[in-house]
Symmetry: C2
Subunit: 319 residues, 2 copies
């Protein structure tokens, strides 16, 4: 029977910052980085982005993969036991907690005294034709992260979505774009009234109700066109845009603990605000899996550190 | 009359991460980094530490000053207006807020629509003879930050303080030290009973009640001795220790807003947990000035990002 004192599930900034802190505190953490967990390579969402300009400490900017390789190296340097397997099942009902990895669900479980869940959240996608080609080559799901890059400057951009976050993303993008279209599937917004008023007043935002995207098109390297259709008139046409931002929500990767720990209505793990404490003592959550509001690499890293210090205090108190 | 849209006061990881995010969001932030504000050079507490091993993304570790220079360069790269002056007076009573810098308190104020206070907190020191010589050469105020460095490994260490944080630091240090002395000025702990029980049960912790430190001694480069005195018997002796950790509290740098915004009993700025929102709309707090629990460079950086996104949303809603 394999037993770990503290187990970290995830491979992004939250997971590796927690590992760096716990390993340096001689807690010998085990980190399951996953094998294409949730369809994403080890390193998490950042491995699907190109340049990162806003992680503090890197004025010359670097790629998402490079930042995550550096963090992984740092975790390993201090003694983190990194396992490239996907945790597919967790049992929080009794202590020690039990967990199983993919394809070993019928084998003997691994046991552990504490778990930090840092499995992140992935942006919901449309799976449009052309999406794979132009992902991060014009298509993004984070205006704060990517809006400032040169390819979007003074260019027409489009946002897909009808809620507050679609309106917030569109408003944020008007800082960079020549104009911003919002494609809303229905004939009305779901967004709050106050947010709708702000959109209506903004001369650089054009709202297209009853409109869906059919295809992302471009020159093979960068996006420059969006095929759209009006669902009332069935008329299709090409919209010249150099950027497409999905604002149709994120899915926090919480399946393995579904029903075992309190969640927000939005499916995110519920934590005591400003900490990593969840409804289950000894089970901590860090990064995007418990953050639907800020969702940045550096807020995840900060949250991973918080989880490490919370877990270290919890485990010290158990001894 | 000088007016800034958003002003950041501070120069550590929280201040510069907020600046990076706000500058990249085209908000043209102004950052007052201070001229030896609170007796600390621009860059904050990190400029007083040596190597930083646990800021994620730097497996090869780097000095505190180097990390802060990199962050400052990043802020400036995106257009932050950095002013090397100390803000000595702030008026939050009406909008726009008003602020004055040192030696210009009688001049016309600068006005600003939003402020992010990120002035940090400084560890209370003893000002012992020898402290300046051996600061960060054996003397520290953060076991999580510095306990793991080689000079403390398997060596006797001392902690000064009688509260929960002194007990937590001592317990944390037993991971590295051969033994840990706790010097408690009074004849009893202020710490919680549960924490005292843990200390009593720990064979590697020796508590010296009624004991004060008189002098930090060493070989000119590294600490290796502490002159101590028992205040009951007045007996003095030399205690062989290679590390001394102050755990007598931190002072959050909040003087410039004293009485104008809600504070915790401990003097830290009160924020809505998990955010940077304070009791005054448009006035945000980030980093150690509002965090008495975690106090790490990376939690401050995450908090600075949160403050930038909170401020950007607040200012967008005002337009």
């Amino acid at each position: 029977m394999i037993h770990h004192k503290v187990t970290i599930i995830g491979s992004g900034p939250a997971a590796h910052t927690a590992a760096i802190y716990l390993a340096r505190a001689e807690m010998k953490p085990t980190l399951y980085e996953g094998m294409m967990a949730n369809g994403i390579a080890a390193g998490g969402q950042l491995t699907t982005t190109t340049d990162i300009e806003n992680f503090p400490g890197f004025p010359e900017s670097l790629s998402g993969s490079e930042l995550m390789e550096r963090m992984r190296k740092q975790s390993a340097k201090f003694g983190t036991n990194i396992i490239t397997e996907t945790v597919s099942k967790v049992d929080l009902s009794s202590k020690p907690f039990r967990l199983w990895t993919e394809f070993n669900e019928d084998a003997e479980p691994v046991t552990t005294d504490a778990i930090i869940l840092a499995t992140g959240a992935s942006a919901k996608r449309m799976h449009l034709p052309g999406e794979e080609t132009y992902w991060q080559q014009g298509i993004s799901a984070c205006a704060v992260c990517d809006g400032a890059v040169p390819i979007f400057r003074n260019k027409p951009l489009a946002v897909i979505g009808g809620g507050d976050s679609a309106c917030e993303e569109a408003e944020f993008l008007t800082k960079y774009a020549s104009k911003v279209y919002i494609l809303v599937r229905k004939d009305h917004f779901r967004a709050s009234v106050i947010m709708q008023r702000r959109i209506e007043k903004n001369p650089n935002i054009i709202v297209l109700f009853n409109t869906v995207a059919l295809e992302a098109k471009g020159d093979g390297k960068l996006l420059n066109m969006l095929r759209i259709k009006n669902t009332k008139s069935n008329v299709e046409n090409d919209l010249e845009v150099n950027g497409l931002f999905y604002a149709i929500g994120h899915s926090p990767a919480t399946d393995i603990v579904k029903g075992q720990v309190d969640e927000e209505e939005t499916g995110y793990i519920k934590t005591v605000p400003g900490s990593s404490l969840t409804s289950v003592p000894g089970f901590f959550a860090a990064g995007d899996v418990q953050d639907s509001r800020y969702r940045q690499a550096v807020t995840s890293a900060g949250s991973g550190c918080i989880a490490a210090l919370d877990a270290e205090r919890y485990l010290s108190a158990q001894e």
